[in-house]
Amino acid sequence: MSSKTIVPASLAANGAAGVVLPQVGSGDEYLSAERCVELHRLMVRARVMEERTIKMSKSGEGYFWIGGPGEEAFNACLGLQVHKGQGPAFDYLNLHYRNSATLLALGMPMLDGIRQMAMRATDPHSRGRNFPGHYAKREWNVLPVSSVIEVRHTMAPGTALMQKRLGGDGVTVVTGGDAGTAEGDFASCLIWSTIPGREVPVLIVVANNCWGISTAACNVHSEKRIIDRGRAHGIPGEVVDGNDPVASWYAIERALTWCRTERKPYMLEAKVSRLYGHSSSSGALRVKGEVDCIEQFEKKLLALGILEPPQVAKVHEAAELEAEAALEQALTEPQPSPEDVEMFTYADSAVDAVYPGDYTGLPG
């Protein structure tokens, strides 16, 4: 990263006269100080939420933990750039289970993440049913995260087809890990996104942390860059340092712009860290010496004088307080009840003689 000292238009316009903040650079790319501060806060909030849920997995307030520490930089950038809304005029998100920073960037309150970890009836994503990080939100086109690796890749071309048909610039984003690309569904996504005359705007994100649980990518994958698999299908792509928010920001911008304007797929391979190991189980193997995107970004922001140490501390403290309050709140909320077991199985149907409403047990 390097820096320039041009006053960002947005800041100047903000009337922050006198406080000329530098931009944050990476290679030739620069991001406004304002944006960086926003990203930093999101990244910290995401990290703190994840750390809180890890604690919950140990304290018994929750069980299994899996999540996104190490992917905050990239995922926050993604969340800020998607077009948030409901229906095909907006972007669809087919996420994997490490996208908490994306959801926070979209505007999810920490409370909702904590509610899921605490398995409350108020968990809006799964009503206390699913593992943490398994989001679902109709209003933001966040399709239900499934634990099943890579099946979302078969669905992405479908939403994108509707988006293309509608016109406009809606894009379908599908994210997954590096190991998961070995499933045939990854190839299906490449094929279905590039049907001649039916190419569709899918942004295929591979969060490459070089591991699938305990298996190193280099021991099972022959491709040098995962994006090379797109080549045969004419899918452009790039590899980006997902620990670098500036680089990530612009890579995502290029990718989304391509999809929005060309109405064709694009691949983005983000090199990321997996800071707390795979999950709370599976031997919790940690990889030594991984870059911590938050630490690295904070050093930069401090060096550039965009943030002072007390401000950084305040961001962390605020996040901790938010998490604390969220947990406190969540724990006051009701657990699901036995009657909830069958809820949400079926949508109402006027043409069903047995289940005009929801499922009610075996036909009787």
């Binding site: 239900p144 890749h153 479908g158 199985t345 949508a347 149907s349 043409v351």
Partner: protein, 352 residues
């Protein structure tokens, strides 16, 4: 009268015109072929997919998520076994996602034996399908039922699988599809693509009318009092035929229940009939270990064990790795007319 496959095609057309169907797709579903069984000839939203069943189901789900109404075809149910994990997700995503998203997809696929199909055109799928919570599964045995159930499948906001009995696809119905022309040849000329070059062909659709058959409602194909037969799909007309003969031969009469919906099934109708007769035979052609018919039997035992006059029976396909092409195999693997009649006779005549 229209054949079952013509009825499906007309239902899909009705769906395109009146029920918001946006995509009818799958392998060879679009022009020029219009489906290996012609089920999708001439439909305006029909298109050919890559040869990838997993992609077909996934893409249907994506289309549905984004507000479309897709009807996806698996060319033969025999080639759907690689999609079961995705079918499961289609069935559980609403539950898992706290009701955030519905999943209004229709998957249609030919099922069952009877077309000299060897291993991979003879599978039955209903027992597998019945193990997919969140799905609704229907299997019409007549043209009109195919029409009516397909319309319901399309408007139902949940995933619905329409199993089409391979052996009955070309069988004509006994009742007209609402709007179907008087003359079968006229219908054929209107909606069946010509053999050979079809590049300039377009169908002329009759003025079809709505006819919804509710999911979960059985059809009483024959009414009687001696015994109850529950079936669906290919064996159903054989049960009907046997009932007619046994009425003549023995004076025994049967409730022949065409279940039509595998899930949810019409328990009320089954239950009432079993209560009435105390004798029940369940017939299908799926393999016999962990067969949906065994589930129905379990319900009968749960609720009517003490109402039964004689041992309740199932007549199912053999638990073997496949159905062989030489007809000796098929004849000895899945229920045929003679065996069905014999089983019906046995359940009707056993001393109580």
């Amino acid at each position: 009268m229209a054949t079952l496959v013509q009825a499906v095609r007309m239902a899909l057309h009705y769906g395109e015109e009146h029920l918001g169907v946006t995509d009818i797709f799958g392998e060879d579903v679009g022009p020029p072929l219009g489906g290996v069984f012609t089920a999708t000839q001439g439909l305006k939203t029909a298109w050919n997919s890559p040869l990838d069943e997993r992609g077909i189901i996934g893409t249907a789900m994506g289309i549905a998520y984004a507000g479309g109404r897709p009807v996806a075809e698996i060319q033969f149910c025999d080639y759907g076994f690689n999609t079961i994990d995705i079918l499961k997700v289609a069935g559980n995503q609403r539950w898992a996602g706290a009701g955030n998203f519905d999943m209004p997809i229709v998957v249609m696929t030919p099922s069952g034996s009877g077309i000299r199909g060897s291993l991979y055109h003879s599978h039955s799928f209903e027992s597998w399908a019945s193990r997919l919570p969140g799905w609704k599964i229907v299997m019409p045995a007549t043209a009109l039922d195919a029409y009516g159930l397909m319309l319901s499948a399309i408007v139902d906001p949940n995933p619905v699988m329409v199993l089409l009995p391979k052996a009955l696809l070309r069988v004509r119905g006994e009742e007209k599809i609402p709007g179907e022309p008087e003359d079968d040849n006229e219908l054929k000329e209107m909606i069946d693509a010509p053999v050979g070059d079809r590049s300039n062909w377009t169908p002329r659709w009759p003025e079809l009318k709505a006819h919804f058959i509710k999911i979960g409602e059985a059809r009483l194909a024959r009414a009687g009092s001696t015994a109850t037969v529950v079936s669906y799909g290919r064996p159903l007309p054989l049960c009907v035929q046997a009932a007619d003969q046994l009425k003549q031969e023995l004076g025994a009469t049967f409730d022949v229940i065409d279940l039509r919906s595998i899930f949810p099934y019409d328990w009320k109708t089954i239950s009432a009939s079993v209560l009435k007769t105390g004798r029940v035979l369940i017939v299908n052609e799926d393999t016999e270990v962990t067969n949906f018919g065994e589930h129905l039997l379990r319900r009968v035992i749960d609720h009517h064990f003490y109402d039964l006059l004689v041992r309740p029976r199932v007549l199912l396909g053999k638990h073997i790795p496949g159905i062989g092409l030489n007809q000796v195999y098929e004849q000895n693997s899945v229920p045929q007319f003679a065996g069905i009649k014999e089983a019906m006779k046995a359940v009707a005549t056993e001393e109580a």
